[in-house]
């Protein structure tokens, strides 16, 4: 998008444009209607892209048909916390039927489905319709686009998980469980949800960015997550049965949900959801956290590499 014909590349009209080196190649005025107001610049574009992605995750700003899928899945994700909260209140239990961190692997499949159905939405349409050059004709860089899309998706997934945790928390408070312990559990649940949404978004977005067809993207992400889950649980169970529980505990983390479960278990001392990573201690916590950071960092790096080529050919 260097110099096109003169009318297309009129220099930036407004005064708010920072004097960035590439500001000369920005297309603002395509000759239809003149605009003299302030230009809000790169930061604002990234913010808008993030907000738009976040809204899109839930189908806001889209036709009613596009809202069905996210909200069906959100409904399924909210049903168990609601039921557990009701059970705790009505039966007067002295603890929640499922802990905050256990909720995540328990609902793992539906969470995977949510990510699998939303990640392609975030990137596939822009790739399919080849509109990347249009974004780049504004003062936004490729990496800004990647980060905004990633942050929007991760924020959307986190919002859903956090809402489920909040439902559990409110139920626990209404059931008059000990407030201190519940606040601690709620905070742990929120941290685990945040890590999980970052990890799943990284995996989902990378796969979606490499499969421009939306349906195939959904299928690819769910296949990979199911396969990772299958390998993780089988390998760890077999290794644990055959006497190498430590190795089994570490290899269970091939499954993103058990990785986050391992992080929660090592740092917070909560019970593991499936009980395979027993007794890995602080070293386990460090390794699991490093693995999660590597997945997120590696995912973003892969996306940035992928987007260096988009819109050129």
């Amino acid at each position: 998008m260097a110099d096109h014909t003169p009318p297309l590349t009129s220099a930036t009209a407004g005064g708010a444009e920072p004097a960035a080196p590439q500001s000369q190649s920005v297309i603002h005025d395509i000759g239809f209607r003149h605009y003299d107001g302030p230009r809000l610049g790169r930061g604002w574009i990234v913010r808008s892209l993030l907000v738009e992605t976040f809204r899109g995750v839930f189908g806001f700003g889209r036709p009613a048909k596009a809202k069905i899928m996210p909200w069906v899945l959100v409904g399924i994700l909210m049903a168990p916390p609601l039921i557990f909260a009701l059970i705790a209140v009505l039966l007067g239990l002295d603890e929640l039927p499922t802990s905050y961190t256990e909720y995540l692997p328990t609902m793992g499949f539906v969470v995977s489905l949510f990510v699998a159905s939303r990640a392609p939405y975030c990137v596939s349409r822009d790739l399919r319709h080849g509109v990347m050059p249009l974004y780049l004709s504004r003062p936004i860089r490729r990496n800004d686009y990647v980060l905004a899309k990633f942050a929007g998706l991760a924020l959307g997934v986190f919002t859903v998980l956090a809402a489920a945790q909040t439902l559990l928390f409110v139920g626990a408070l209404l059931a008059k469980l000990s407030v201190g312990a519940q606040i601690a559990g709620y905070a742990q649940g929120l941290i685990a949800s945040a890590v999980l949404s970052l990890v799943l978004s990284a995996i989902g977005l990378v796969l979606a960015a490499f499969t421009p067809r939306r349906g195939m993207g959904v299928a690819a992400i769910i296949t990979v997550l199911v396969v990772l889950g299958g390998i993780g649980s089988v390998v760890s169970t077999l290794l644990t049965q055959n006497g190498s529980a430590t190795l089994g505990g570490y290899l269970a983390a091939i499954d993103p949900f058990l990785l986050v479960d391992g992080i929660a278990m090592s740092w917070f001392g909560v019970d593991s959801a499936i009980g395979v990573e027993a007794g890995l201690g602080a070293l386990g916590g460090v390794i699991f956290t490093a693995a999660a950071a590597a997945i997120v960092g590696g995912g973003i790096a892969l996306l940035m590499r992928r987007y260096t080529k988009v819109g050129i050919a």
């Binding site: 889209r62 036709p63 048909k65 596009a66 069905i68 899928m69 069906v72 899945l73 399924i76 499949f109 539906v110 489905l113 699998a116 159905s117 939405y121 596939s124 349409r125 399919r128 067809r213 939306r214 349906g215 195939m216 959904v218 299928a219 690819a220 769910i222 296949t223 990979v224 199911v226 396969v227 299958g230 390998i231 089988v234 390998v235 077999l238 049965q241 055959n242």
Partner: protein
């Protein structure tokens, strides 16, 4: 059936990197089968658990969904289906050609790997392998028909299909006994249960319904799905809603 439609469909399904997606799951199944054999000394019971739990419960529906998506949803997604529909071919012919290719792919990538996995994981005289093969074959026919039709009706076919196949059949069936009888997997398993006879219970190869009921329900579901698919394909409208 039309050879050209079949050829184009097969290319759309297997071309470029897409075949890779279809190989991952069967490969995982075979690895799991080898691990099961190593861990349980080739006992048919453990083999049957792998077969009913992972092969019939997860792999088969997931593979049928992947194939159905590749066979028709992808074309509807990118709009290229209009060029095929504009040809002077009956919609019935187009759908049947696509179903045939899809079924062939499912047999190669899901039914045969299921049989191989059961044979690897542990078997007695090939009985369990044949029983799982027959069950997987009947389930494959029904799943393919259902999911291809779902792909025509909805653009979220993959998600709805997975919700049915994994959540309804696996999870909800665990809590609500009535749900278990309304399941393609259970209907198909009835065939294998009949084939194994008295050994079925010993190897925990159980179905919720009898073979006659299972086959009738399978036939009705498949026929209904195909009929609906032809109807919907005849009046297909392409929308740009994502």
């Amino acid at each position: 059936m039309n050879v050209t439609v079949m050829r184009l469909t097969a290319r759309g399904l297997l071309g470029r990197r897409r075949a890779l997606l279809l190989v991952i799951l069967p490969a995982l199944l075979l690895v799991l089968a080898a691990l099961t054999r190593w861990a349980s000394d080739a006992s048919p019971s453990a083999s049957s658990l792998l077969g009913s739990g992972f092969a019939m419960g997860t792999l088969l529906p997931l593979m049928c969904l992947l194939v159905a998506t590749g066979v028709i949803s992808a074309e509807i997604d990118d709009g290229s289906i209009v060029y095929m529909l504009a040809k002077p071919l009956k919609r019935r012919v187009i759908l049947f050609s696509k179903l045939a290719v899809g079924l062939a792919a499912v047999i190669v990538f899901a039914v045969l790997p299921t049989m191989a996995a059961v044979a690897i994981a542990g078997d007695e005289g090939g009985q369990l392998t044949l029983a799982y093969g027959a069950s997987a074959f009947f389930a494959a026919i029904a799943y393919t028909a259902i999911f291809v039709t779902l792909g025509i009706v909805s653009r979220n076919a993959v998600v709805f299909g997975l919700l049915y196949a994994l959540l309804w059949e696996n999870v909800l069936g665990g809590y609500v006994p009535g749900v278990r009888a309304v399941s393609v997997r259970q209907w198909a398993m009835s065939v294998g249960e009949q084939m194994l006879g008295s050994q079925a219970a010993e190897w925990s190869f159980t179905a919720e319904v009898g073979m006659a009921t299972g086959l009738i329900l399978l036939a009705l579901t498949t026929a209904g799905a195909v009929y609906l698919g032809v109807r919907k394909l005849s009046t297909l409208t392409l929308s740009s809603v994502d």
